[in-house]
């Protein structure tokens, strides 16, 4: 196996204000160019894993090693996090400015990224003039404009309608493959994980540990229609669901409680 790009070694995280750990004993190697989906019950600490990698917070125990430090990394959050005082294009340029791309170059690359997420012609608007889904696409454009070597995605498609989502998922796969981007995708959506990922990591409820890592055998089958038609798809989906179900119930027992009508 090639040398991993990212190596999580027994990573644990406990936030200072709460006593209980969020993450515990996470061991995971991610190869260069690999797309790893992380799936688990809500609030289990999946996002924390990305925050650790982005340097927004530090590990409590264990270590995270990156074999290259010259990687451009992009982070697309669950919410758009656009700067409200900048136009959409200038928001996309924000990521480019941080790596020294400015002026006309930044403008061109930002426009190209906006085309990619189908926001052509919206560059001069301010974020509040866009719908929530469009804002999220602008946030995605901000990440992709960087042509990142490492892409962190925290449920980036959650706020989008089904059609836009499946379009952008397919676009993303093309971009990531073309750039050789190593990608970590946090998601709730089993289908999304199976469609996009090379491997799917299933996390337990809090404290989050890795329950199991699935290899996804659909190499090259990267449209939704092809995926649904694949003979191995339904059994694999069933298996992941079966593993996830008790974790979701542990995370939030009220889901299993009978509902009175």
């Amino acid at each position: 196996m090639v040398e991993p790009l990212i190596r999580f070694c027994d990573v644990g995280k406990t936030y200072a204000r709460t006593a209980d750990p969020v993450l515990e004993g996470v061991d995971l190697d991610v190869a260069p160019g690999e797309l790893v989906a992380i799936i688990g019950p809500s609030g289990c600490g999946k996002s924390t894993l990305l925050n650790l990698l982005a340097g927004l917070t530090d590990v409590t125990v264990g270590s995270i090693e990156l074999s290259r430090d010259d990687l451009r990394s992009a982070y697309v959050f669950q919410n758009p996090r656009l700067l409200p005082w900048r136009s959409v294009r200038r928001n996309v340029e924000f990521s480019l400015e941080q790596v020294g791309v400015t002026g006309k170059d930044a403008r061109c690359q930002a426009e190209a990224a906006l085309d990619l997420v189908h926001l052509t012609g919206h560059g001069d608007k301010f974020p509040h003039q866009l719908s929530g889904g469009m804002q999220q696409r602008a946030a995605l454009a901000r990440g992709l404009a960087l042509r990142p070597g490492l892409l962190l995605l925290d449920e980036p498609f959650g706020a989008l309608d089904a059609l836009t989502r499946s379009y952008l998922q397919e676009e993303l796969l093309g971009i990531v493959a073309a750039l050789g981007t190593t990608t970590l995708l946090v998601t709730h959506d089993i289908d999304e994980a199976l469609l996009l990922a090379d491997r799917v990591v299933v996390m337990s409820s809090r404290p989050a540990r890795i329950r199991r890592v699935f290899d996804v055998p659909f190499k090259g089958t990267r449209t939704q229609d092809e995926l649904l038609a694949h003979p191995q798809f339904a059994p694999l989906r069933h298996e992941v669901r079966a593993l996830l179900r008790p974790e979701v119930l542990t995370a939030d027992p009220s889901i299993a409680a009978p509902v009175r009508v």
């Binding site: 340097g55 990394s73 982070y75 996090r81 005082w85 924000f94 990521s95 301010f126 901000r142 960087l146």
Partner: protein
Amino acid sequence: MATDVATPAPTRTAHGPRRRRRRWVRPVRVVGAAVVVYLAWALLAPQYPGYILPAPVDVWGSFLEAFGRGVWTAEVLATLEHLVTAFGIVILVGLPLGILIGRSAIAEDLSRVVLVFLQTVPTIVLIALALVVSGANDGSVVGVAVAGALTYFLLNVIQGTRAIDPDLVDMARAYRASESAIMRSVVLPAVVPFFLAGARITLGVVWQICLFAEYLMGTDGVGFQVSTAIKLLDTKAVFMWGLSVVALTLLLEYGVIRPVERRLTRHVKKD
């Protein structure tokens, strides 16, 4: 303490877009009310002696006379110099200091005593102290105005710094933005509405303190002219200087503050 902090940039008028009147209705009402006040003044003035309520025409005459002698321009410029210097110092000192205090608990604790003192000490005491320390001069007027107005501005900037969305700062960090880039691209723009609200309050306070200090210290400026005029029972001159300040304030509001505000808050949602 919080009462001095203005709410930033209201995005719609009090009545909202519920009923759309014709565009000229509101300006006409405003001008109409001004005409009524003026007529009341003009009609009441003949009932009183000129040293109590001078007639509009006498006040206008007082202006022409002062303007003709060059006094008006000289004194107004003297006051504007105090005003602009004090205002500039408050902004230049207050902005970095406010951001520092807003972001650092250490700076907040260390500055608290001084801030509470500056906020609560009467202006008259500041004037008395300035007279003792450096005498009646332009520097004293400016110093008193800065000391008296600084907290109004500072509290707004501190509030603005604390209101910064931590999600945006995290976003910038995730894209490896340097501390100076975060300051430039995230912190300063987020503080802008609070900066504007603070600057507006500060300008009003600096006006008041400058005139007050000039009056009591006897330095050049409109304040001293008012004190001289009232000693001579030249009430029409007092009215004239008062209206001059009103006119200058409106000029600053519409000529400087509003255009700057429009330029800096283009992104704010309207309607």
